[in-house]
């Protein structure tokens, strides 16, 4: 009897670490909103005087803190837009729902939200957006704010806020060779979260390494690994000349700190979600200041480009004590992208979910005043709108902890092909 219980308990113990699955139900067609009186055709989420956009975000799960920053900035953005007369003579309302990083819940919330919104400003999180993207595609509903995974290029309704992790990583390899003296035949470690984020970064690094004659040493991890000692020792043994990290701040602090403690002072490169300014006050701070490079699609918080200044001023007025990080320019850029698409739909006289997607796909030369690297071209859904990235360095005296160095596009970043 006790043995039976014990086996059951063993199985229960294993199951506890398993994650939720996603739904494969047929999507509903999007419903019709009440028609406007003007000559603009109005669809779901649009009335005579208001437009509703949705945010499916994580307010109670692992990414709650960064998600809250994005919600605050997005709300502040639309409050500003409304003060200036709104979009298509309508006030924009933001419907925020919490999926708690649970794909099943995200799908349920999507079902209830989709008939009542013109577009989805955000579906935060890898597994959650992966569950919602195909449904939104079937409903011809615009979807933004889902991160930078290359997989999203399969969906023509998804607007990626910059380039992909793969192109960022490919550019990072180019940068290592062209700017930081890494030589042919050298090894580069890639420490990555298994999943859309990390695997996309690894694919870009592997492509570029082949082109530039480098060798990749991959190390797969999960978010619960916060001690990178074993990975650091393995990279030291392999003689890695640089490391690309597609993970979260705890892993960055550990890896950079351990490498430095073993006297391995090589460039450590991370994507936007890898860095957090609080790390500079941790024991790993000195190592990060010495070795960390951020390769990102959106500008760092401290950039003095006009777009970023506007985003930061808005945020600091709305949340004076809020955390300063990449989420602020990102949320502002995402809101700018959707607003531009909604204005396009309005001008085309088709303010419906389909109309917003169509308008977004007609965007060929959008400049966001330095929030993103270059002007953006969304006309080909299978390609990212740009392949240029921001290169920043860790800096203790800069708000947000990252100081913008330059924008960069290398041959591998340019040539990377999406499968």
């Amino acid at each position: 009897m006790r043995n039976g219980t014990r086996t059951t308990l063993a199985i229960a113990g294993c199951c506890i670490v398993a994650l939720a699955a996603c739904s494969t139900k047929d999507p509903n067609a999007s419903g019709n909103g009440s028609g406007g009186q003007s000559d603009v055709k109005a669809g779901a989420g649009v009335t005579d005087d208001a437009i509703t956009v949705g945010m499916l975000t994580d307010l109670s799960g692992p990414f709650a803190a960064g998600a809250a920053v994005q919600v605050a900035e997005t709300k502040a953005y639309y409050a500003q837009v409304n003060k200036d007369g709104g979009v298509c003579d309508r006030q924009v309302k933001v419907d925020v729902q919490d999926h708690g990083y649970d794909p099943q819940k995200a799908v349920t919330l999507y079902r209830s939200m989709a008939p009542n919104v013109l577009a989805l400003q955000q579906v935060l999180g890898g597994p959650t957006s992966a569950a919602v993207l195909p449904l939104a595609q079937a409903d011809h509903l615009y979807l933004g704010g889902f991160g930078w995974a290359g997989n999203s290029l399969k969906y023509d309704n998804a607007q990626i806020p910059g380039t992909t992790y793969s192109v960022e990583a490919a550019n990072a390899i180019d940068y290592l060779v062209d700017e930081l003296g890494v030589k042919k035949g050298d090894k580069v470690g890639v420490v990555y979260f298994t999943g859309d984020y990390g695997n996309d970064s690894l694919a870009g690094a592997e492509y570029a390494a082949e082109k530039r004659g480098l060798k990749i040493v991959p190390q797969e991890i999960t978010p619960k690994d916060t001690d990178m000692s074993a990975q650091a020792s393995a990279l030291k043994k392999a003689g890695a000349s640089a490391v690309i990290l597609a993970a979260a701040p705890p892993q960055l602090a550990s890896l950079a700190g351990v490498l430095a403690s073993q006297k391995v002072n090589v460039p450590v490169i991370g994507h936007a979600p890898t860095f957090n300014p609080a790390l500079l006050d941790s024991p790993a701070g000195p190592a990060l200041l010495k070795n960390y490079y951020a390769f990102t699609s959106t500008a760092p918080y401290s950039s003095d480009e006009p777009g970023v200044k506007k985003a930061v001023d808005l945020y600091e007025a709305a949340a004076p004590k809020g955390a300063k990080g990449f989420e602020v320019p990102l949320a502002y850029a995402q809101a700018e992208l959707l607003t531009d698409a909604m204005k396009g739909a309005c001008e085309a006289g088709n303010l419906t979910p389909e109309g917003v997607v169509e308008a977004m796909r007609k965007t060929s030369d959008l400049d966001l005043d330095g929030l993103l690297t270059t002007s953006l071209d969304y006309t080909d859904p299978s390609q990212p709108p740009t392949r240029t990235v921001f290169v920043s360095r860790a800096d203790a005296d800069t708000p947000g902890g990252l100081k913008l160095g330059e924008t960069f596009e290398g041959p591998s970043g340019k040539g990377y092909t999406f499968k």
């Binding site: 916060t226 650091a232 550990s254 024991p283």
Partner: protein, 296 residues
């Protein structure tokens, strides 16, 4: 060879910390029959207390408050929730603990935000080098402290009345109750011990080479679950030995992943569970678990 020894030392020191967590699981299970899935958030609560108090009152005082705080939290969970369950059934209690874990974790995530709070320990990012083997000072301290703690536990369970009462209650609570052992006291003592051990482990899991206190710290306790199961659910010695096994095997699997690439990537994730399943196939009650007497 140096590389092997470095990974081995890494694994052993990490394994001792896992042992501290796994022993907490065991003590709660033997003293109250509860699968404590809220252990991770108790650990995080202790570490959070240390990180938030070390600024105003200094690291050592904060560490003391954190350890006592986590112990009190454990006792409260037991007194308010576990003891009031209508039906003392391991399944119900386990689900209840999952609920407690979610509530605690949500609140701690809200408080910590996207910060990584420094634990402020005096050993900072120092490392110790002996014969080419480099190990973070925090890990050396953790290993030493864990060994002392395990020694004290042995003394408690083998040589003190309170410890013997706890063992008696764990072995057979009805008979122990008839002999004058009060299950409410042994239960509270078990939860307090487990909470304190979790907080100690939390301090070291948040020290260098880890970055500090972030909500993901709660997940670290899941790494001790294979050690708990492997050790046999109800054996303190089993939990310590299995912690060491899991720690070493994980460190070596990650360290030699390049050589073991035919087994696929991300080996370090799978290996603890693979070892656990293999051992359970041969020894269904774990390495040190009690075999129940079978009567025909």
């Amino acid at each position: 060879m140096t590389y092997f020894l470095t990974q081995l030392a890494n694994g052993l020191s990490y394994g001792l910390i896992l042992g501290l967590i796994a022993v907490g699981f065991v003590i709660v299970f033997t003293s109250t029959g509860v699968l404590n899935f809220a252990h991770g958030s108790v650990l995080l609560s202790g570490a959070y207390l240390v990180a938030s108090l070390q600024g105003p009152i200094g690291f050592w005082a904060a560490a003391a408050v954190g350890v006592v705080g986590a112990a009190v939290l454990g006792v409260l969970i037991n007194a308010l929730l576990v003891r009031n369950l209508a039906e003392a059934n391991p399944g119900t209690a386990a689900i209840l603990m999952l609920g407690v874990d979610i509530v605690l974790l949500t609140e701690l995530t809200r408080r910590i935000g996207n910060n990584v709070l420094s634990i402020g320990a005096p050993w900072g990012a120092d490392v110790v080098s002996v014969g080419g083997i480099t190990l973070p000072t925090s890990r050396v301290v953790a290993a030493g402290l864990a060994i002392v703690v395990f020694g004290l536990l042995w003394f408690l369970f083998a040589r003190t009345g309170a410890g013997i009462a706890m063992r008696a209650a764990a072995a057979d609570s009805d008979t122990a109750a008839m002999m004058g052992v009060r299950p409410s006291r042994t239960g509270a003592a078990g939860w307090a011990l487990a909470g304190a051990l979790a907080a100690v482990a939390g301090i070291f899991l948040a020290s260098f080479p880890a970055p500090g206190v972030a909500p993901t710290l709660a997940l670290s306790s899941f790494a001790a679950i294979p050690a708990w199961v492997l050790g046999g659910f109800d054996s303190v010695v089993g939990a310590i030995v299995s912690g060491l096994i899991i720690g070493v095997v994980t460190a070596l699997a990650v360290g030699y992943e390049a050589e073991l690439h035919f087994l696929g990537r991300g080996l370090g994730e799978v290996v603890p569970y693979a070892v656990m399943i293999l051992v359970l196939l041969v020894r269904p009650s774990g390495l040190f678990g009690r075999k129940e007497a079978v009567r025909v």
